[in-house]
């Protein structure tokens, strides 16, 4: 039975092995594809403790401090991104997120208009094995409410006064202006238009070019290779 096999030369045996492995590859699916697995317990824990949130003022402080250890991702469409975006954000619309080539260890902060899209994207990226994904709590709505047009106390105590000063500076940095508590309560139409941020030269975070010019949103790959 094994007589014919032992008569083969080493090269012929190797060729046979290659053919067998190649035939096996016919059934292989080496790309992970779109099927993923999730660690439900870990996800539930993270969601329950809100460890996956970044508050708007916290993000504002990071941008002002010029921190570069994270990437801010705007999940809205290119058109919406062109109208207004948080400084330093890169635009990766929801639909191209799985192919955007984001590093698995990269710290990502996601935001969308409200919170739904970023929560869905958060789940998607977690499922794809990203380790460090956060959402801007409340999305752009809360960003505008708390950072660009923050509400100042009407009759401030000294402690509130100090806080208000910080809010004023922060809102000026991002091209907005504070509102009084009265006008906010009256539901005054918000966002009278955001001026250009104070620092037009806020350096872009990380390597990817900002695709604000309507270029491809996918992050351009670094040239590597031979």
């Amino acid at each position: 039975m094994s007589g014919w096999f032992s008569r083969l030369t080493l090269n012929q045996k190797l060729a046979l092995a290659a053919i067998a492995l190649g035939a096996g590859a016919l059934f292989a699916a080496p790309y992970p594809g779109s099927k993923v697995t999730l660690d439900a317990r870990e996800l539930a824990l993270v969601v329950g403790t809100e460890a996956d949130h970044v508050e708007a003022p916290e993000l504002a402080a990071w941008i002002i401090e010029n921190r570069a250890d994270y990437r801010l991702v705007d999940l809205r469409t290119e058109k919406e991104f062109a109208t207004y975006s948080i400084p330093t954000a890169v635009n990766i619309p929801m639909s191209v997120l799985p192919e955007a080539g984001l590093g698995r260890q990269e710290k990502l902060v996601l935001y969308s208009e409200g919170g739904i899209h970023s929560a869905q994207a958060w789940m998607l990226l977690k499922a794809l094995g990203h380790k460090s994904v956060y959402m801007l709590k409340g999305g752009l709505d809360e960003w505008k409410d708390q950072v660009v047009f923050p509400v100042l106390a009407d009759d401030p105590t000294p402690a509130q006064r100090a806080r208000d000063e910080r809010l004023k500076a922060m809102s000026a940095f991002f091209g907005g202006q504070p509102r009084s508590a009265a006008s906010a309560a009256a539901g005054e139409p918000e966002t009278p238009g955001i001026a250009a941020p104070l620092t037009p030269a806020v350096p872009k975070v990380a390597a990817p070019p900002s695709p604000a010019g309507g270029a491809k949103p996918a992050v351009k790959k670094k040239r590597e290779g031979c």
Partner: protein, 199 residues
Amino acid sequence: MAMTAPFFKYGMFGDEASLVLAFLIGIGFGFFLERAGFGSARKLVSQFYLNDLAVFKVMFTAIVTAMLGVTYLGWIGWLDLSLVYLVPTYLLPQVVGGLLLGVGFVVGGYCPGTSVAATATGRVDGLVYVLGIFAGMFAFAELYPFLKGFYLSGSGEALTIPGTFGLPYGLVVFAVVLMAVGGFYGAGLLEKKFAAAGE
């Protein structure tokens, strides 16, 4: 999950460590080129006279080995193929570049990697070839403004055979294996024929 490759893309080491690894892999590559006899221009060019097709066989064996390894590692989940870097395709410039490299190979007797291996073992012709490579790189860099249009013409996307022709990945793998085995068989026949003719 913790052991998924590519390790660099998963952040298991940084740029500096990757340079050290590249050095070690390069030394290994050179070592095996030399062991296969590819530090000798005579051995290399004899494939163009069809009496010794060792280069073809070694290179195609490497391709098949790597391809099968990558396929199966991807299948069992140790390697995320979607993160493996693919060289962008510029079809026409790359065809012209490939032909140019082939002409250089026939004339000079080496290809870039083997010329470095030959230089490392003290061969003067290898050293001349390496100097020629650097002269060519310098000339190319100086002429780049004029060549840029052609150099970057074509798609620039990373095209793959399964993606472009809509073929199943496994089928392409199997076809390449068959191509290699058929090629080895054909190479053996050619070697016999031309070795006899040469003597």
